[in-house]
Every structure is written in C-alpha cells, then in structure tokens.
Amino acid sequence: MLLQLKDLNKQYSSGVHALKNVSFNVEEGEFLVIIGLSGSGKSTLLRCLNRLLEPSSGSIIFMGKEIAHIKGEELRLLHKQIAMVFQQFNLIDRRSVLTNVLTGGLASMSTLDSVLERFTPLMIQQARKCLQIVGIEEKAELRADTLSGGQKQRVAIARSLMQKPILLLADEPVASLDPATANSVMQYFEKINKQFGTTIICSLHFLSLVRKYASRVIALKDGEIVFKGDAKDINDVLFREIYGDESSDFEIK
C-alpha cells in the first residue's frame, strides 16, 4: 500500500473544520479522483497529503512511514517524492518554460548551484524530455507567461515529472481550462499513470472526466467522505447527496 490515511482532521486557526475523520487507502498505480463542491475540503486534503499543510490530528502513512507531523529536512524529502499540479498552474511567469521545468529538480541541487542557475547538461536533457512527454518541447525557450492556459498546465505537469515523483497530486488541474483543453490535459495525466505507473490523486469537478479517467472515486462533502468506490456507481441519489439538490446534471455530468 502506498498511502494510508486514518481519522485525518484539519481545523484551521479560523475555526473552520475542513476535514473530519477522513480515512482511505491508496494502492500503487491508482488514479484516484476526489470530487465534491467548492469548500468541501478537496484542496485541504491534497495539501495535507504532501504536507503543505499540517493536519490537526490523525495519521498519514506514506510508503510505510508516518508523515503527519514531520518537519525540516524530512519534510523536504517528502516534497521531493510527491509532486503537485495546481489549478492556477503557478509557473514563474517571467522565466522561460525550460527554467520552469528545471525548478522541478531544485531539491537535488546544492543551494549555491541553484542560485547561480548552474543546471547540469543532464538536468537540461531531462527537462527537455519532460517537455517532450507533454508535447511542447518546441516552446522550451519561450517565456512562461506567453503560453495559453492549457500549455501552462502542461508545463506544470512537466515540472512535476522532473521530480520523478512516486505520487502525483493534482488540485483541480483543469478547472480553469475550456472543456476541450481540459480533456487533452487529462490525457497527459492518464499517460503518466499508465506509462510510468505513477500513482495519481486528482480533484475534479466534471463527472464526465471522472468516469473517463478515474480508477476509483472519493466524494467529499463538508469535509467528510460521503462516497468511496467506482465512478459508474454514482447514481442520481448519490449525485444529489454530493452536489446538492439545485445542481443540474448537464453542467457537471
């Protein structure tokens, strides 16, 4: 088992109880999708998994090791093993696409080398290969802010690949893209999952995408898990339970 969550709770200092007794397991090679409304705790959950946030209580066992409260160098090593892709891409706008991808490898560089930007030829070669995987190697020298949304997200995926991650997290990676682009970006996640066997945990809004790509689904509502299982088992009753009565099917399905 790659990842094991038990009774995970996260309460923010503002008093918001974002996660309530969340428990689930993730096997190696899975494509796990988390669904739920905005504010249901999806982002908080993902950020607890790679410990950008510290959970209030509960345990997270990653590769047989408790990581819920690790700090310092240990935490940095965890970040290196778990890559993350964000809704807003979070690229460095003013730098080249290639440099953006290279930042995925910062953890394996000395501080001095990275500040002087002395990337080894091997790293540059790897970065170009990562860009090749997401199909935009020809944009390597362009500035990141000249790209379109879909291209930016592909660069972000290439950056995460540069880490050679064991686990790849994606926080609503296609939520700010149009449907066609969203589908093409999701195909790259599928490719990474199938070709390299990288485990992926991804939060999504659209059920159509969930059905197409997820090997398993977890639904969150108000910080609690309300559904675990296969995407095709989500019937109308469950759908209303997760998304509320007012949501119309065609928008999300």
Partner: protein, 366 residues
Amino acid sequence: MKKDEIKPNKEELFVNKHIQPGDERKSGFEMKLNFLKAAFLDLFLVFYTLLILHRVIYYKLFLNLREIPFSWGQILVVLLVSIILGGLWTASRTSISAKLFGFAKNTPFSKWSVEISSWIIFDLTFIAGWVITKISIVDLFSSEGISGANRIFSAIFSPSFSIFDDALFAIIETVYLALIATVLSIPPTFVLSFLSARNLMKDNKISFALYYLLRIVFNFIRSVEPLIWAIIFSVWVGIGPYAGMIALLVHSIASNAKLYSEAIETIDQGPIEAIQATGANKIQIIWYAIVPQIILPFLSFTIYRWDINVRMATVIGLVGGGGIGTMLMQYQGLARWHEVGLIVLMIAVVVWIMDYLSAKLREAIF
C-alpha cells in the same frame, strides 16, 4: 465527539456571532472605566482651551506682549480650574467625551453644549495657529517687502553665468553623490527587505521578533529627515559630499526596505507553494518564486529613489553635505543673488531632467 456537536447549523452560527454578552448592557465596571476615561478627556479639553485663551488670546492677541510671562503657578491655577470645570462638565453628562463614550444625556442642551464647545475648540486652535505663525498680511504687501521681493526676483531671473563652471561641477557632484548613495543602498536593502516582510517572517517567533525590530528601526530612521542625518554624519566623517552621501544612504535603505518589503508582501503565493512542493529549500524558494516577482518593482523603486536623492542632495548641501547645496548656501550668505539665480536655475533644470528620465525609465520597465 458527536457528529452534531462538530457541525452546528449554519444559521445558528451566524446568529451566535452577533449576540455577544455585554453588547446590549455594558457591565458596571466598563461603565465606570468609560466615565473615568471621559473625565480625563474632558479635563484635557478644558485645560487646553483655557491655556490657549490665557496664553495666546489674552497675552499675545489682547495685550500684544512680546515675551509671555511664564510661571508654573499660573499653569497650576489653570489646571485646578480645569479639573473643577471638566469634572462638572463630565458629571453633567453634557460633555464632548460623554457623547464620545456614549453616555451623554439626550437633551437639547446636551447637544448644544457638545456642538458649541467643539466649535470653540476648533476655532481657538486655528486662531492660536495663526498667532503663533505670526501671519501678517502687512509684511507681505508693505512697500518695503515688495521692494525686497523685487530685488531678489529681478536678480534671480537675470542669473550670472560667471560661476557657471563651478556650479556645473558642483551639480555633477550632487548627481553622483545621489547615484552612489542609491547604488550602495541596493544590496543591504535587498537583504533587509526579506527580513522585514511579514509573510516570510511570521512563521516562527524569533523571525517575527526580528521583523518587528527591523520595522521599528526603519520607522525611526525614516522619521529623522536626511537633513538631520547629514548634520550627524558631517560631525562624524567631516563636512563634505561623503557625509551627505552617507546620510542619503541611510535614509534610502530605510525607505526602500519598507517599499520593497511591501512589494514582497503582495506577491502571488501560488509560485511559492509550487516551488515549495518540489522540495526546494527556503533560499531556492526565494530565488525562484519570489525574486522574479519583485525584481521589477524593486528596480522601479530604486530609480525613483535616485530621483528623490538628487533632490534631497541639493538640500543636504545646505548643511555641509557637499555639492550644489553647499555652493548655494555660500552665495546666499554673501547675498549675491545673481549667482544664486544661476544655481537655482541649474537645480531646477537637473531636477526636471531627473524627474523626466526616471519616469521614462520606470515606464519602460513595466
């Protein structure tokens, strides 16, 4: 924990927020404290009003005395009178402070008392300011005054070019002095701005303490005018451009560190999160996620600071900070107004050029 304990109804939460004990009825202790505060404020207001009436209006305006007699005895008498009047005023619940602290009587007289006394305090303050500033329409338009103005303006507007070479060298000295002060300020400002950015320093107690200390130091340095720093450093390193440069340097670091750190505080957190998630260390996060976002604002602030420094350098020269200001002071002391005219003209031209250049440069950057 039970489920319904963790998850209260949203509406209930909303309502609970607004009902807080003591909101409707203040506790007895709070009432007494407010009354005490109001009494002190009223005492101060009455004391202030009586002091102005006595010392400015009576002595200065009414008796037109040059030297105002001073004795602690008088002040004490005024204070005693104020304590009695102020106390009565507060106790009657018709005072300004009673209104401020919310326990004033709701009567026409109470409203009238607050309004009238506010007006009196405001007017007296204005009159006192007028008298202390020695404002005199007569001085401005007397024939003696007009002829003086005539003399200086006609001299200034016909500048003497006999000292052009010296003035040119002096103003070049000023520009370079400002330039060096600005350039030397960049590295320390750069480092200090990260240490005084709230979003980077708030995570642990030691760094947060350092953040507060730096903010206090910067505020202190900025609140002391460069002119005064120049006086201090001219005693320290001797009169001349070096002292002026250090004065500007100190002031530039403190001012720009504040601006820089505010730029850091408003950056997009997304890239920081992303670089942190790759396993990068703190320095790598700063270099890759923060620096690219702040480099342009930094450059823009720095160019603007050079512009400001050139202007300040001319003033600093007046107290021996070197450059054109020192020259201006010498000729002004000799009352050689034609030469002063040239110097003023040259300062105006250089400041205008700097202003224009810095605006253009900053435009080009963004």
